[in-house]
Symmetry: C2
Subunit: 552 residues, 2 copies
């Protein structure tokens, strides 16, 4: 075996998917983890609340995990920590706002953690890793890329970033440090692929401020802005423009109130005196003096905006004259529910501004030309696109080819693949356990494919339960068969169908008795077959059929 030192990169989440970003970096008997995010469930994951990475690999190597470093405070980068830290208590490193947001989550779930605040350009020694934090612009303040200096070489992980020449907080992506690193030589670049399908450049967050300014001027009445709770830059711009135009601002929605408090306390929000008011005070002001900032830009069912749209919000009634700005793009999968909210708001007579075309929202992620810029600055020997569904990683790999990285030095990898690097070589070496852990209520991982398959079947055609009580000794039916159904047909109008079904079951049971079958399992499967066939013929539906035999 070669004695050449080796460095492994092991993606535990975020490759082939959007969300649950997590990357393990291994050097000998030392592991460093970058980010620990959650993912929101796809619609096929019925009843699931959130999805977190499978950390089997880390638990198997518990003793050598030296720490978790965080790039920024979004859920898809920190949201799994309350679960993961319970099983893996290692120190966490991040910038001030990132940790401020994290601490709220940890407190809510009673999780203790050792946390270490870092600053951009600071270098922390974590085990054998020299970890450097590098300022990047993103849709939340205090985001960083991470450079990991090892004996084998330097790994640069961009985290999420955008190239914004005029960021709201003045914190431009640290091009200087990235280019210094590029100059000295970077072994591997891991870079954000979220927008790798989109040509051109991402617009500056400041564009949205200009649009706010214009829109506020045209609004004759109350203004309601829905955006992501964590987009502090966006909140800042809304507050600044409101103040300039002599409006007061009220914040509605638990998560946004929380972010505003944390960001303000930590100095990430500049709020002019006498600008913020409570909602009940806002309701007493003339409507043209009011801006309401709210959650719900994704049409979340319980969010403030959704309740306003459905006239179910206790304190905010939408009235004709209101201008409602939805300052966000629907995340894929949310398009229809957001559209329904917009329709409802229009029906209530509001003027709704929602087009992505209107610069009412800009992305927090880099488009193709921005990605090429990052590749050219860092000039890595090897490139691994991260943070994206498979086709996005493919597109990002094509961009890397375009700027001159040889195909064989680009790895479009999957979660769980071990990428092994020496100073000169790189390869996909092996595979470890990785995947999804589903969280449903208090259950972490107890809902898997079997339960989901049942939920799917139940959701499509409902369930029919057949109960019968049998006298074991006499071999006689003493009660039933009774049929109960849910989600199958409207029972009151289907009495005849259900009665016929009951008779089918009775005949099947009698036939079993005649043939001397007394084992439960063949009886049940006979009942299931007869009923399933009968119901499919009559209705072309396939409800779940659940025979239950009680013995006395």
């Amino acid at each position: 075996m070669s004695r050449e030192p080796k460095l492994s990169l092991i993606p535990l989440g975020g490759l082939g998917e959007i969300g649950k970003n997590m990357m393990a970096v291994r050097f000998g008997e030392n592991i460093l983890v970058v980010d620990c995010g959650l993912m929101f469930p796809g619609e096929e994951m019925l009843g699931i609340d959130i999805v977190i990475p499978d950390i089997t690999y880390l638990l198997e190597n518990k003793e050598i995990v030296r720490g978790i470093v965080l790039t920024h405070g979004h859920e898809d980068h920190i949201g799994a920590l309350p679960y993961v830290l319970r099983q893996l208590n290692v120190p966490v490193y991040g910038t001030k706002l990132t940790l401020g947001l994290l601490q709220g989550k940890l407190k809510e779930r009673n999780v203790d953690a050792v946390i270490n605040t870092v600053k951009p350009r600071e270098i922390m020694q974590i085990g054998p890793f020299k970890v450097e934090f590098i300022r990047v612009s993103h849709s939340i303040p205090d985001a960083v890329a991470i450079a990991i200096h090892t004996q084998v070489g330097v790994v640069v992980h961009t985290g999420d970033f955008k190239i914004d020449q005029t960021p709201v907080d003045g914190q431009v992506t640290d091009f200087h440090r990235l280019s210094q690193l590029g100059d000295k030589g970077v072994l591997v670049l891991l870079s954000d692929s979220t927008n790798a399908e989109i040509p051109g450049y991402t617009l500056s967050e400041r564009m949205v401020g200009n649009t706010f300014d214009e829109t506020f001027r045209q609004a004759t009445d109350r203004i309601i802005i829905a955006t992501f709770a964590s987009n502090v830059h966006r909140l800042q711009q809304a507050i600044t423009v409101a103040h300039r135009q002599k409006r007061k601002v009220a914040v509605v929605g638990r998560s946004m109130v929380n972010v505003v408090n944390v960001a303000y306390e930590l100095g990430y929000l500049d709020i002019p005196e006498n600008t913020m008011v409570e909602l009940d005070e806002a309701n007493r002001l003339p409507r043209h003096k009011v801006v309401i900032l709210t959650t719900g830009s994704q049409g979340e069912p319980m969010s403030a905006l959704t309740r306003m749209a459905l006239s179910e919000h206790k304190q905010v009634d939408i009235v004709p004259g209101d201008t409602i700005i939805i300052s966000a793009t629907p995340i894929p999968g949310n398009e229809k529910v957001v559209a329904r909210i917009i329709d409802q708001l229009f029906k209530q007579g509001a003027h709704v501004i929602y087009e992505s075309a209107s610069s009412i929202h800009v992305s927090g992620h880099p488009c193709q030309e921005d990605l090429k810029m990052m590749l050219n600055l860092v000039r890595p020997k090897f490139f691994v696109p991260v943070h994206g569904e498979y086709r996005m990683l493919i597109k990002h790999a094509e961009l890397a080819k375009d700027v001159g990285i040889p195909t064989e030095k680009i790895f479009v990898a999957e979660n769980g693949q071990v990428l092994e690097f020496t100073r000169r070589t790189g390869r996909i070496a092996s595979r470890i356990t990785a995947g999804k852990v589903l969280v449903d209520g208090l259950g972490v991982g107890d809902v898997g494919n079997i339960v989901l398959r049942d939920r799917k079947q139940l959701s499509q055609d409902g369930i029919l339960i057949v109960v019968v009580t049998i006298d074991r000794d006499a071999g006689l039916i003493v009660a039933g068969p009774d049929i109960v159904s849910r989600g199958f047909v409207y029972v009151r109008e289907s009495e005849q169908l259900l009665e016929e079904a009951r008779l089918k079951v009775k005949n099947a049971l009698d036939a079993c008795a005649d043939r001397g079958i007394s084992e439960w399992s063949p009886i049940k499967s006979q009942v299931r077959d007869v009923l399933s066939k009968f119901l499919y013929e009559k209705t072309r539906r396939r409800p779940m059929i659940l025979p239950i035999i009680m013995e006395v």
Copy 2:
């Protein structure tokens, strides 16, 4: 009461929604219906196959319904006919291809109908209505707008249309006739709002042909094109380009094979000799000589493309080198499933072309400037935007204002509202029954809110069934309580939880017995309460709880 003659327009579908388009036109004791479409269910309509309009109003006025006229052969305009004609047997009028496609559907479901073929510029007398069919371009051949000449005035219903100066079949929208009508005076225009949110002009279908040409030239191997089965123009262009570049074409997917056959037989597809081959023949040809046309551009689970992507198609294996063109835009709600198919195809090594930016698809509906053109040509006295969700109708109404129609002459209406017109006035006069009828298997309308609510609950947290057999006379439990669950927890790993739950139920039953409660209903509700509380505490889930008591 005024003796002035009145004309009513009664939307039965397609307003405030995309799909199930249907409009009743009433003059005295005469009703004419325009279109009779279906809608695909939203994801909240669990297990539902299709949605059709509620035709209570027509059934209540059965004797005076004179006929149904069709604008074109898309499902959202003809798809409800097999259901509606069973209850309402009236003559149907449409162009040749529209009726050709309809007849297949009627045959499949054994429905008889009197159908009458019409031609553009032809005028049919249907009851008191003079009905004129006017050529429009759309994403299916043989589409028409409809002008209804009545004593009160002329109603023009555009159906679905686009303004295409270079349509593939040369059949340009009949601007001349529309402008003649506009010249003479049109009372009401009903116009397609599908793209009313999109600025600019819709590109010509011919653009896609150019892109095919270019893409075919670059493909070194097999080409697979997925598109809408009914887009005969698109199929024509693929076939023409394939022939020109000396490739053979095979068609895969039941619905596409059907459309190709009908369109070819009726003369709407021009297929050069020796161009079409069966799939097994195509599989024997060199790969660079083959084009496969297939369904599945919307990621439909059972479609040919989906099965290919999942390596489940019996005759087509995707291999590296294949070029796959997805010549369609995902319909809202389908984005995620289409993205997953694209990812799968990439993973199999195919080159996938899918960006809407690449002119690989153009819309069949008019954008804002096209809509203004239609409004300016027809110059109606009154305007009713149709075919669109609420915000689209609102946007379309704004466009009408922009071209000079007074606000009070524009009606943004809802399904079921009766719009009443005289020669000079228009108003929303009343409301009749309208809405959705859900089709699930053979059941038409038997699944309603109660069943859907049950399916929703079942899909989120599953079901727990508690069965107990009680000796009525002795008041004793003789069997059970047993607990069976589905879709709630993974049973094998939750034995303890379920056993604790069983004990909770037993205690509750004993307590009832002690307190002399022998009525089923309070016992059941006691069991439900105890169990629901216990399970929520332990799991934060709320499964459906179904207590069943058997008596012996």
